[in-house]
Symmetry: C2
Subunit: 383 residues, 2 copies
């Protein structure tokens, strides 16, 4: 053997991943599943490993393999917790890093042992904390977006003022607002935060402005602290562009302490083919929840995107199901919603939801303030 | 109109994106393409926009729509450069952010105007710079990986020494080596960098050790600087887990100044379905090149992954085709390669390639040093 005999001190705790994979028959499925066990850990052929702790404990372990319809198989594979170390980047690597480059394999579920749930401890606020912060006890929370890209910072701030006056709880940047010349980040954040704060002083309406702080490593952190100092009440991050650890680092920083919204952009390809990628519940539910997002934005069924009711239900379950010490977070459906969708949304989601209506709020009628008030009134009446 | 009449000062420079999309007929394809123009910019229905600069310049513009076989259509859409601002995160957002959540749309090509190529200025070293740094003029460069996960830092350093003695140019961490208790990041990096440096002193063989610095925002930067101070000759980043801006920030930092390898993990789902996601050339060629990687690792045809010869050819072209002032970077095929693959690889890639053989090098014969020397001799003889 090329490698020294290895004795490791392992806790015995393991994470469990459920994969769905395509294969012509059970024998091929077993081969593929055993390939995953190696690929996601040691990246070596089994023949090069001794039957020591490395070859038997570090390599993933196929716990179950079950045929499903249409030449699919469910493979449950466990990995030693120690393979993850202490980072979400490496958790994703173990779960799906290289295997993402294999066809017809989908990660359906992920179950973490207590040691990893203690490490990835989730949201600072979660559902209960965000309600306390906003002083909203029962009704669904309301969110809309500042847009479009191309408006100036003063024009966006004027919109923010209207939304605050209209009683919208969360006023977020459109995710396409970054650091463009039309409305540079710092100017926009200062003006919008000030508009929302002034409205609070004048009317008592408490809204949180959530600027989009998505950017590269240093600038994201600079943006976050600038936003906090400018008086922003929350921040929004697109983990598909920054990695999930960007959310986690801020969520775990006691000095930062603002709620975090997770935006779904650039992760659609991960979920859209039911035979590949990762499940909706994982990508838009469990993973942002582990990272510490307080709400996970995604595209609702019935809008201009392709998520189904079942997809959305899976996301709700992943944001709210019991998960060790981690608090439930808000599902935040949006994407082509209008006030006409509200009855159906409230029936489907109940109270524990953040309703995101943006384009549909601008387009509802000629007076934006009236549109907001109708949004709020409908959500209150129906809840 | 809800929005103020907007006059913008625009350069007229536009980026151009070629999408392939599925649709039943030309009229539906046009609808889908026009939907992309709105979705990727203003995220509002066209009816809410005036025919001002915002409604005509900021909204994406459908430049061409051409039927292709099998109910696919090629849509060429241009966007004002100003929509990107100054960040790769937002470039990806404009190109594919929300549209990634629509079915049957694939980004095939991306063409940037001079202003954006000046902003995303690419690799510090590139092919020529990396050859100069290593003092290798003509032959293909050789790379292998320290593995497996589970070995101790001293054991990994012993392997690094063997690889350096054996004449391997680039000795990288396996991408699954992060900050696990088996071989914590700092201990591993210090020992492996020292082993490679000692071998250089003793034998004159110059190898670059490239630790995996993939992590969340602050820790990635800490890792990078720690690696540099410990004497690492390069670093490796997995942009699928950190975002591409992590590469760009380090590539643009004159004080940092180490070569950067881009690892392909967690991006496979983006490319694997030919009707969705993004093309291989974009994901593993153009995008890491724009970000500033000096070499882009991907999985070669004929190994244990599913990329085709055509996919690999597209990656080579995207890493090397003329691109304003950006230097060509190295394609770095790996993933199940062995010494037996070398003749085919050298025929296909020629000299301008980094040959990545890892598991196949460990497995070639019982003496690792001999295996390395055979790798080097074969690459020299065949080139």
């Amino acid at each position: 053997m090329i490698f020294p005999h290895t004795h490791l001190s392992l806790s015995g705790e393991r994470l469990t991943v459920t994969y769905s994979l395509g294969a012509a028959d059970l024998a091929t499925a077993r081969q593929r599943a055993e390939g995953i066990c190696l690929e996601q850990t040691v990246e070596l052929p089994a023949g090069l490993l001794a039957q020591d702790d490395l070859g038997t404990q570090v390599v993933g372990r196929l716990e179950a393999l079950t045929p499903r319809p249409n030449r699919r198989f469910e493979a449950v594979i466990s990995y030693a917790s120690e393979t993850v170390g202490d980072e979400l980047t490496q958790l994703l690597n173990v779960v799906f890093g290289n295997t993402s480059m294999q066809p017809a394999i989908r990660v359906e579920q992920l179950s973490l042992p207590p040691s990893l749930l203690a490490l990835f401890k989730g949201a600072r606020f979660g559902q209960a904390g965000l309600r306390r912060l906003l002083g909203v006890e029962r009704r669904p929370l309301l969110c809309t977006a500042l847009k479009p890209l191309g408006l100036s910072a003063p024009d966006l701030a004027a919109l923010a003022r209207q939304f605050a006056l209209g009683g919208i709880d969360l006023i977020k940047d459109d995710h396409g607002l970054a650091n463009q010349s039309f409305a540079p980040f710092k100017d926009r954040v200062q003006r919008c935060a000030a508009a929302v704060a002034e409205t609070h002083q004048q009317t008592g309406q408490l809204s949180l402005y959530a600027p989009n702080i998505t950017a590269g490593p240093s600038r994201l952190l600079d943006n976050a602290w600038f936003a906090k100092e400018a008086g922003a009440g929350a921040v929004m991050i697109t983990p598909g562009l920054t990695g999930l650890e960007a959310i986690r680092q801020l969520a775990m920083d006691d000095r930062f302490g603002l709620p975090i919204l997770s935006h779904p952009a650039f992760r659609g390809t991960l979920v859209i083919d039911p035979e590949q990628g990762m499940s909706h519940g994982l990508v838009y539910g469990l993973l942002p929840r582990l990272a510490g997002a307080d709400a996970s934005i995604y595209v609702n069924f019935g809008g201009r995107f392709a998520f189904s009711q079942a997809d959305c239900r899976a996301i709700v379950e992943a944001t709210t199901a019991p998960l060790g010490p981690l608090p439930p977070i808000f599902p935040m459906p949006g994407g082509g919603m209008t006030l006409a969708h509200l009855p159906e949304m409230l029936t489907f989601y109940g109270r524990e939801v953040i309703l995101l209506i943006a384009g549909g709020l601008y387009g509802h009628g000629p007076n934006l303030l009236d549109n907001c008030r109708q949004f709020r009134a409908q959500a209150e009446a129906l809840s």
